[in-house]
């Protein structure tokens, strides 16, 4: 702090290592966000870290922003830009919904996001996932990445941490999953990304949107699914008879093709 004040009378060059990074950096929701469709609604999730450079400005951010009763958006990129766009779209969609005298379509919300993101693409840095439920087409996920493209996808990830979980998503997403499977998929993927991406972390915020309403959850740090191999130890006191229930209680799935003889090696590689 003293060093920073001293620097004010000198020159504040960006290459200087006297001033902390975050005095010159923009506030970013370098992030991991994700949304999955299921039959009857969508599940969305996000981490909760907002950074200014290396400083975590907010470690309990809510990046799942309501746009309408059954439509949410997941924000990534510049915090200010995404908040401003979300406010504009909330206003436009609210007006449109009143004029129409019925609940707005998710597609309409997505198009409004696209219109703003594309028109001001040079000035903005915003990657947004629009997800929700409407009575015409049920649960839908639309992604509006940087630049202002619009495309509907059954499952979509975004933000800086998304790069680490494309493989996980590709191998674990299956069409026609149930709501609980989706919740497990999203929380699992997000915790993996938060483990590896420095700009993502904190808690996992989840929301399940369906015809009946929006069901929000928070998964705190110590409750996150654990993936590191450190946590996977073999206790000699495990009774061989109960090996199936032991595996299941650790959250591992059992494949009937496991040969009983090599059960130690199989556990390690699973």
């Amino acid at each position: 702090m003293a060093a920073a004040t001293a620097m004010r009378f000198g020159q504040l060059s960006s290459g200087s290592d006297m001033a902390p990074d975050w005095t010159t950096k923009e506030v970013s929701t370098g992030t991991t966000i994700m949304a999955v469709e299921y039959d009857g609604g969508v599940v969305i999730g996000a981490d909760s870290r907002t950074t200014t450079g290396a400083y975590i400005a907010n470690r309990v951010t809510d990046k799942l922003t309501p746009i309408h009763d059954r439509i949410f958006c997941c924000r990534s990129g510049s915090a200010a830009d995404t908040q401003a766009i979300a406010d504009v779209v909330t206003y436009q969609l609210g007006f449109h919904s009143i004029e129409l005298d019925e609940a707005p379509l998710v597609q309409t919300a997505a198009n409004l996001f696209k219109a703003s993101c594309y028109r001001y693409r040079e000035e903005l840095m915003a990657g947004i996932i629009v997800a929700g439920w409407d009575k015409r087409r049920g649960g839908q996920v639309y992604t509006v990445p940087v630049g202002g493209m619009l495309v509907r996808q059954p499952v979509s990830v975004g933000g800086s941490g998304s790069t680490y979980i494309y493989g996980y998503m590709d191998s674990n997403y299956k069409p026609n999953m149930t709501k609980d499977q989706c919740l497990r998929l999203v929380s699992g993927a997000l915790s993996l990304a938060m483990e590896r991406d420095g700009s993502s972390g904190g808690v996992v915020r989840l929301a399940a949107i369906s015809e009946t309403g929006v069901d929000r959850q928070v998964i705190l740090g110590n409750q996150l699914p654990k993936w590191s191999t450190i946590y996977l130890t073999i206790y000699p006191t495990v009774c061989l008879k109960d090996w199936r229930s032991t595996l299941l209680s650790k959250g591992l799935e059992i494949y009937p093709t496991v040969c009983l003889k090599d059960w130690r090696y199989t556990l390690l590689s699973v």
Partner: protein, 282 residues
């Protein structure tokens, strides 16, 4: 029905002492001078029929159309001053197009008719402009909302209908429409009935030649508003011509029956005669 609004009818920005805006009422009279247009909504689509009077033999066939395409899934049939109607169809087209551009999906017909009605209403507020001298019927078919039918009149209000008629013979047409069970009919059946109604309300004495303009939108056209294909139109006109001659024949027969047998129940026999003759014709 006709009343003089001396002094209070010079501009649309003046009310009369009994609370009427005469200019708007005069605009509605302009609509009543034009030939009839009807629109009927059935369970899987909407059918329009317009009695287009041919004022000169020199006109090219199909000119001066009175049914417009407002959007792929929306059609508009008009009655009244055709020039006013054309400019309103442009307004409707722009509204539908802007909606799709802003919100990414087809405009719902209720919203479109309210927007165009709002525009028409704006012209009834000022003395610098005159109200539009046309009424029009909007019809659409959508996967989610199904068939929809709305009518807008010069005063700028719009209502949803199952069947409506505008123009000089609208009362007679409305009576005929009320006889139909349109909620249970399909578009193909309805096309014939619409043609029949136009032929019934057409006044042979006052207006000689006319061309029947038919269009539809519904499941049968995959949600696209278009003119009814020539072969279906020809078949519908044939049915209509037969029905109108049959009805006039029957009317003649039943009248003579009553004259001969005063105790005879005219209504019942007319019905059975109707059925047997029509079944022969079909």
């Amino acid at each position: 029905m006709s009343s003089i609004g001396t002094g209070y009818d010079l501009s649309a920005s003046t009310f009369s002492p009994d609370g009427r805006v005469f200019q708007v009422e005069y605009a509605m009279k302009a609509v009543e001078n034009s030939s009839t247009a009807i629109g009927i909504r059935c369970k899987d689509g909407v059918v329009f029929g317009v009695e287009k009077l041919i004022l000169s033999k020199l006109y090219e066939q199909g000119s001066n159309k009175r049914i417009f395409n407002v959007d792929r899934h929306v059609g508009m049939a008009v009655a009244g001053l055709l020039a006013d109607a054309r400019s309103l169809s442009e307004v409707a087209r722009e509204e539908a197009s802007n909606f799709r551009s802003n919100y990414g999906h087809n405009i719902p017909l209720k919203y479109l008719s309210e927007r165009v009605a709002m525009y028409v209403h704006a012209y009834t507020l000022y003395s610098a402009v005159r109200p539009f001298g046309c009424s029009f019927i909007l019809g659409s078919y959508d996967q989610d909302d199904g068939p929809q039918l709305y009518m807008v009149d010069p005063s700028g209000i719009s209502f949803g209908y199952w069947g409506c008629a505008i123009g000089k013979a609208k009362q007679a047409a409305k009576t005929e429409i009320e006889k139909l069970q349109m909620k249970d009919m399909t578009c193909r059946e309805l096309v014939k009935e619409v043609a029949k109604i136009i032929y019934i309300v057409h006044d042979e004495v006052k207006d000689k030649a006319f061309e029947l303009e038919l269009s539809w939108v519904g499941e049968v056209t995959n949600g696209k508003h278009e003119l009814v294909p020539k072969d279906i139109r020809v078949e519908a006109e044939k049915y209509a011509k037969v029905c109108t001659t049959t009805t006039s024949l029957l009317h003649g027969i039943s009248v003579t029956w009553v004259q001969n047998n005063s105790t005879f129940k005219m209504g019942k026999k007319k019905q059975t005669l109707n059925i047997s003759l029509l079944s022969m014709v079909k």
